[in-house]
Symmetry: D2
Subunit: 388 residues, 4 copies
C-alpha cells in the first residue's frame, strides 16, 4: 500500500475547501428543479448541513453565502450558529441576475439608477462581510446580451470598471474582491466578463486586493485550464477557485467526476505555483446536486479534491524535472502518470483514522442518522433553492 | 432591385412555418425567467398571439401545442378558436421532463410503472391529436444521466425502443411520430437520443410514419448541420425541423440570428433534397424569447426563414453545377455566395403588398395596437411559462 | 495489492491490439515532420519494430498495413517475415488522399475515370489482403470540400454508395469492409463520412460483412463516445476501433494519455456490449509519435489499453446494477469509480512475470539494446513517413 | 441601389490589407500538399503575384514576408522589386517551428544554446526589417507540448518573457513587436501563448511598441472574437489582425467564407473602437489556398474584407444607439442586421470604376492573361511552399 510521507500528511492537514450554501438547496435546469427530502428551508439549516460535511471530513471549515438567497435578519446569529457547529462563514457572493431591474445588466447597465442599485447591492454585501467576518466578496456577473447589436459591449466594459472601482473602494482591512469570469450563460451572445483575460485586465486596474476567480466549468471546449491556473499564479492574481466538473457547458457536476485527470493536472499546477495552502488562493466548490443526494454529494466532492491533491503531491518532482530537462517525453509522462494512477485511498483512510476521523466519510455519514433526522424534521416551509 | 420570378413567388407562397405555443409564454434560463407584459395566461391567448403573427405574414398557418402546458378541457373548442383566427392546431409535443416520477427517465425508465405512465402520456397525446386534427406527435426525450456509471445506457436504449413501438402502434391514418435528438441538456453525461444516428436507428425500426426531427440547436460545436439535412432527406427520414439559432449550447435564439449563412446553407440543402413545400417535412420554430418581445420575435423569425428561402431559391443552379463539375472552387463559391448576398428584402416587400399583406410585417404589427391591447387586457391570472 | 481473478486473467490473456505500421514511421503536422534515429526505411523494418512491441507485451499480435505506403513487391515475403517474428499482417488500409487525381474526391468523385481509379485501388487492396491473409479492408475517406457550394454533397453520397457496393462485391470468405468516419480534416467544410450515423447508413446497405470503424479521435468536442460504442454494438455494426487520444482535434496521441477516464468508460461499454475478445470487433491503434520515441510509444499504448481493460473488468457488476436499479446516483458512481481508481499495475506486473513476460515492458525494451541496434543499423536510405 | 456616402468612400479608400507571401506558395494539410500550376518559385515571384492582387483591387499595398521562407541574398533588391510593382514589403514573420533544434521549443527552450539561437533568429529578422523598411516583427510561437507532464509550463513562460525582452530591446524607431496567440496546433496539449490574455500579459511587460496579434482562426469553438477585438482596442494593445476563416480548427480558409456575419461583427467592433484606418492596427491575411486558385483566392479575400467593411460602415449608428439605450432588443438587432443584409456590391463596383479600377476585380484578373503567363513561364524549379 502506498504510504503518505509526514510532509504530505502535513500538507493535506492544512487543506480546506469552502462549501457553497446553495449546494444544499434545490437546483436544476431551465426545464425542472427536482426536490429532495430534507432540503434546508433557511440559511441556518444550510450551515448545519455544511458543518456535517466538515464533521466527517475535516475538509470543509467554511461556508460561502449568497446574497440575497442567504439573507438573514441577524448575520451575527448566523455566524455564532456556524461557529457553534465548528465552521466559519466564508465568501459572500453577490447576485445581479434575478432582479427584474437587471434584465439588461446591473454593474454594466446604461441606466444610472440601475447601476447604482447594483453597486449598492455590493456595498450591502460588504456590510454582510463585516458582520460575518468574511474576507472575500465574489462577483460573478451574469450580465451580457443575447443578440449581436443589442448592446454596446465597449461602453459596458467601461461602466463595469467604474462600478468595480466604487465597490473596491469600500473594502477595508484584508477584505478582497474576486471577479469570476464565465464563457457563456445566462447570456448567449456576449458575456461582460467571459474569460480570464478580461477578469485580469479589470482587476489589475483596481489594486492588490482584487483578484480573479477561476470556475473550472466556465471555459470553452478544449481549454487548457491548468495553463490558466499557472498563468494566474504567475501573475499573482489567482484569488480563488470554484471547483466543479462538466462534460459540455457549465454542468456544475461533482468536482473530479467528469475528468479526474484534469483535476489532477490543475492541482499539479496549483502546487507548482505555490497555490496550495496559500491563504491568497481560496478553494471553493460551486456545484449543483440536481439529482443526487446533496450532503453526500458535497462529502464526495471534498474527498475527490483531497484524494487528487494527495496524488499530485506524490509526483517524484526530481525525476520529473530530470526527464523534462532531457526532453524525455515518455519518461516525464511516466513519472506524471504514475502519481495519477497511484491509489491513495487506503493510505488516506488510515491517515484519517489516525486523526480521529472516519476512514470512510461517506459511510460514516450514511450511518450517522443525520439524513433520516433532517428528512423527518424538515417538513413544511419552503425548501431553499436559487430563488430563496 | 432584385426581382422574384413567378416560380420563386409560387414557391414562397406555399411556405408555412409552424409556431410553438410556448414561444408566447415566459421563458428563461436556470437563473431567471423574465416576465413581459401581455404574456398569455392560457392556450387560447397563445393561439391568438400566434394567429397575429400569421395575420401580418401569411407564413404561420399553424400552432404547435405542448402537453400538459397547453392542456385544455375542450380541445375541440381550442381547435375552433384557432380556425376562427385563421390558423390550425399542429404538432403535439409530449413532455417527459417535469413530473417528479421522471427524475431518472420516462420512456427509458427501468421501473415498469413509470415507463407505463410515460407511454400512457403519449397515448393521451394521440387522443389530443385526434381531437385537434394534428398529424404529428413529436417526442423530445429529455432523458439521460449526469454521471458515468449512473445508469445502464444500453438497457435504456432497448426500453426506449419498446416504448416507441407501443406508442407508434396507436397512431392511425396519416398520423406520424417524429423523434427529436439533442446533444445535451438537461442531462449532462448522457442523453438517450443524442444524435441523428440514434434517432434514425430508432425510428427505422418503427415504420414509415416514424421520422427524425432536427432541431438546429441540438448539435455539438462545429457540426455541419446541412450535411445532416442532406443525409436525412436522402434516407427519407427527415420528418420535421425545429428552427432556432445558437452561439454555444441550445440557446433557442431567433432563427437566423446567430449565423445567417448557416440558415442559408440549410435551406439550400432542403431545396436540393426536395424538402421544401414537401408535406413530409414540417417546418417549425422552437425558440425562447427570454428578453425580447415575443410576438415580434416570432414575426422576425418567420420572416428570416422566408427571406433566406428566397435567397436560396435565387442560386443559379445551372452555373453552380457547371462550376462544381469543373472543380472550379472559387467559381462555385461565387455563385453560391452571390445568392446569399443578394438583398431580397425590397422584392419581398413588394410581393407581400401585391398579395394584400403588409410590406413590413414588423411595422404593421407595431402599428396594429394589438400589443397595447393585450398588455391592457391581460392583467391578473398567471402568465404562461414552461411549467404551466 | 489488488489481485486479478482467474477469469480476468483469462480475459486479458485473450486481448490483442493491432499496431499500425505507420506509427513506426515519421509523422508530424502540416508545419513539420520531425525525424528520429532508427526510423524504419521499409515495411519489413516496420514489421520488425511492431514485433518488438509484441515480444515484450504479448499484446500486439498483428500489424496493419497502409497501401501504398507499405507496398512491397512480394507480400508473401512480408507475411513470412512477420510470421517469423511472431506476428501476422492485419487490416489493410486504403489511401484516397495523396494522389493528385484525388484533390477533389476519390470514391465520391464526379469524374468516372477518377472514381474508377479509386475503386480499383481498393480492389488492389483486396488482392493484397488475399496475399497477406488479412481479413479487414479499412476505408477512411479523406474526401470532402473546403467551401460551401463547392460540391454537391448529396450526389457524392450516392456515388460513395455505388463505389462501396463495387468494392464490397469483391470481398470473399470472411473478408470484411470497415468504413471509418471522421468529423473533419483534411477537408474543412464537409467530410463525406463525418459521423457514425453516415457510416452506419452506408454500410447497412452493403451487407453483414460491412461494418463501422470508430476512431476515438474523430468526433466533435464533447461527444459521448462510449454512447456510440454502445449503440454500434447494439446495432451489431461495430467492426473495429482506432484507438488514440486527443485534446482538441484528431491529435493522434497515445491512447489513454489525454483522458484516461474516457478510455475506461469506452472499455466498460465494450465489455457491457460483448465486444471484448469478440472476433467481430477489432482493436487497433492509430497514432502518431511526432515527438516521442516510437516503439516505446507503442508499448505504452498497448499497456494503457491493457491496464484500463483490467480496471473495467474489476467493476462489481452486481453492486453496480443494484445501485443503478435503486437510482442511487452516488452509490452507482462510487462502484464505477472504485474500479477506475484501483491501481492494477502491480498485479499486472506479477501476472506478466507468471507468463514469462517482462514485468515492466517499457524497461525491458529499454534494456534490450534493440533501439541502439536499429539506430546504428538504419543509416542511409529514406526514413518512412506518410508519403512513403 | 444602395449608395456609398462620400465619408464611406473616403474611409474605404484608406483601407489596405497586407497579403502574406506564403498564400501564393503551395500549402496543405499533414496529409497532402497539393500543387498548382504557376506557383512561384521564389520571393520575387510571390511579390509579383501579390502586386497583381493590388493592381486589380488597390486594396493590398504591402506584402508580409516569412523568414526563412522568403530569405533572399539582397533584401534591398526585393524591396525595389516590390516598389517597382507598386507595393511595399510589410511585416516580417519569424519561424520557430521548422528547425530540428526547435522540436521541444525555441524562445521557451530550456537549453540556453537553442534559446539563444531562436533569439538570434529574431534579431536577424529585425535586420531584415531594417533592409526592407518593415515596421512590424510578428512572432507566432508554435511552441508547446503534446503530453501532460512533458514540460514545465511555468518555467517556459518566464523564459519566453526573457526572450521577448531581448528581442524587443533591439527594435528601433517605430518598429514594433506583435505577439500572436493560438489555441492549439502544432502542439496538442499546451501552447505557450494560447490566448489573448497570455499575449496581453506578456507584451504588457515589454513596452508601448509591443502589441497583440489576433488571428481570427486561433480560438476555441464558440469564442466571441469581436469581444476580444473590443477589449484589445480598449486596452490599446491590438497591433494587428491575421484574417482568415474557419469551421473547426485553424482552417485558414478565405476570410468571410465560413461565417460572413462574424466578419461583419468583427469589423463593427474595429470601427467602434477606432481601429479602422488606424496605423496602430495592421490588417493582414493569413490563409492557405490548398485547393483553390491562389491569386484569385487572395483577390476574393480582400474584396470580402472591403465589402464587409462597407456594410459595417452603413450601420445607422444613431438609430442603433437609440434602440440600445431603450433596451429595444429587436429594434437594435434590426438596425444591425439591416446593414449586414444590404447588398453593397453594385455600389462598390461603381465606385471602383470611378477610381479607374475594374468593377469586377475577379473577372479583370481572369481576363488579364496573367495566370496563363505565369503557368507558361514558371516551369522548372521548385515551387514555393512552407518549407522553402
Amino acid at each position: 500500500m502506498t504510504t503518505l510521507s509526514p510532509d504530505i500528511q502535513a500538507t493535506l492537514e492544512g487543506q480546506g475547501i469552502e462549501l457553497p450554501s446553495w449546494a444544499f438547496g434545490n437546483s436544476g435546469t431551465r426545464f425542472r428543479v427536482w426536490t429532495t427530502e430534507g432540503t434546508p428551508r433557511d440559511p441556518f439549516e444550510k450551515v448545519a448541513d455544511a458543518a456535517e460535511v466538515n464533521r466527517v471530513t475535516a475538509l470543509a471549515p467554511s461556508v460561502a453565502l449568497h446574497i440575497p438567497w442567504d439573507k438573514v435578519d441577524d448575520f451575527g446569529a448566523l455566524r455564532r450558529h456556524a461557529e457553534d457547529l465548528g465552521v466559519t462563514l466564508g465568501t459572500i457572493n453577490s447576485n445581479t441576475f434575478q432582479d427584474e431591474d437587471y434584465k439588461f445588466g446591473a454593474l454594466t447597465h446604461e441606466d444610472d439608477r440601475i447601476r447604482r442599485k447594483a453597486i449598492d447591492h455590493h456595498l450591502e454585501c460588504i456590510d454582510v462581510m463585516d458582520a460575518t467576518g468574511s474576507r472575500d466578496l465574489k462577483i460573478w456577473l451574469a450580465e451580457g446580451s443575447n443578440y449581436p447589436g443589442q448592446t454596446d459591449m465597449r461602453a459596458r466594459q467601461d461602466r463595469l470598471n467604474d462600478s468595480l472601482r466604487q465597490i473596491y473602494a469600500r473594502l477595508t482591512g484584508d477584505q478582497r474582491l474576486v471577479l469570476e469570469y464565465k464563457f457563456f450563460e445566462p447570456s448567449f451572445y456576449h458575456t461582460d466578463v467571459p474569460d480570464w483575460g478580461t477578469s485580469y485586465a479589470q482587476v489589475a486596474t483596481l489594486g492588490d486586493r482584487a483578484m480573479v476567480c477561476l470556475d473550472t466549468g466556465h471555459h470553452a471546449p478544449g481549454t487548457n485550464i491548468e495553463f490558466i491556473v499557472m498563468q494566474l499564479l504567475r501573475l499573482g492574481k489567482l484569488g480563488s477557485f470554484d471547483f466543479n466538473s462538466r462534460f459540455y457547458a457549465d454542468d456544475d457536476l461533482i468536482v473530479g467526476a467528469a475528468d479526474p485527470f484534469q483535476l489532477f493536472r490543475i492541482l499539479v499546477e496549483v502546487i507548482r505555483g505555490g497555490g496550495l495552502n496559500n491563504p491568497d488562493v481560496a478553494f471553493m466548490l460551486d456545484q449543483c446536486h440536481n439529482i443526487e443526494a446533496k450532503i453526500p454529494g458535497q462529502i464526495r466532492s471534498v474527498l475527490n479534491v483531497q484524494e487528487m491533491t494527495a496524488r499530485a503531491l506524490l509526483i517524484d518532482q526530481g525525476a520529473l524535472a530530470a526527464a523534462q530537462s532531457a526532453n524525455d517525453v515518455l519518461g516525464a509522462q511516466a513519472v506524471f502518470m504514475d502519481a495519477f494512477y497511484t491509489d491513495v485511498r487506503p493510505a488516506l483512510a488510515e491517515w484519517r483514522e489516525s486523526r480521529g476521523l472516519p476512514a470512510d466519510p461517506m459511510a460514516a455519514y450514511a450511518a450517522s442518522g443525520y439524513q433520516e433526522r433532517i428528512e423527518a424534521e424538515r417538513v413544511g416551509g419552503v425548501q431553499a433553492g436559487w430563488g430563496a
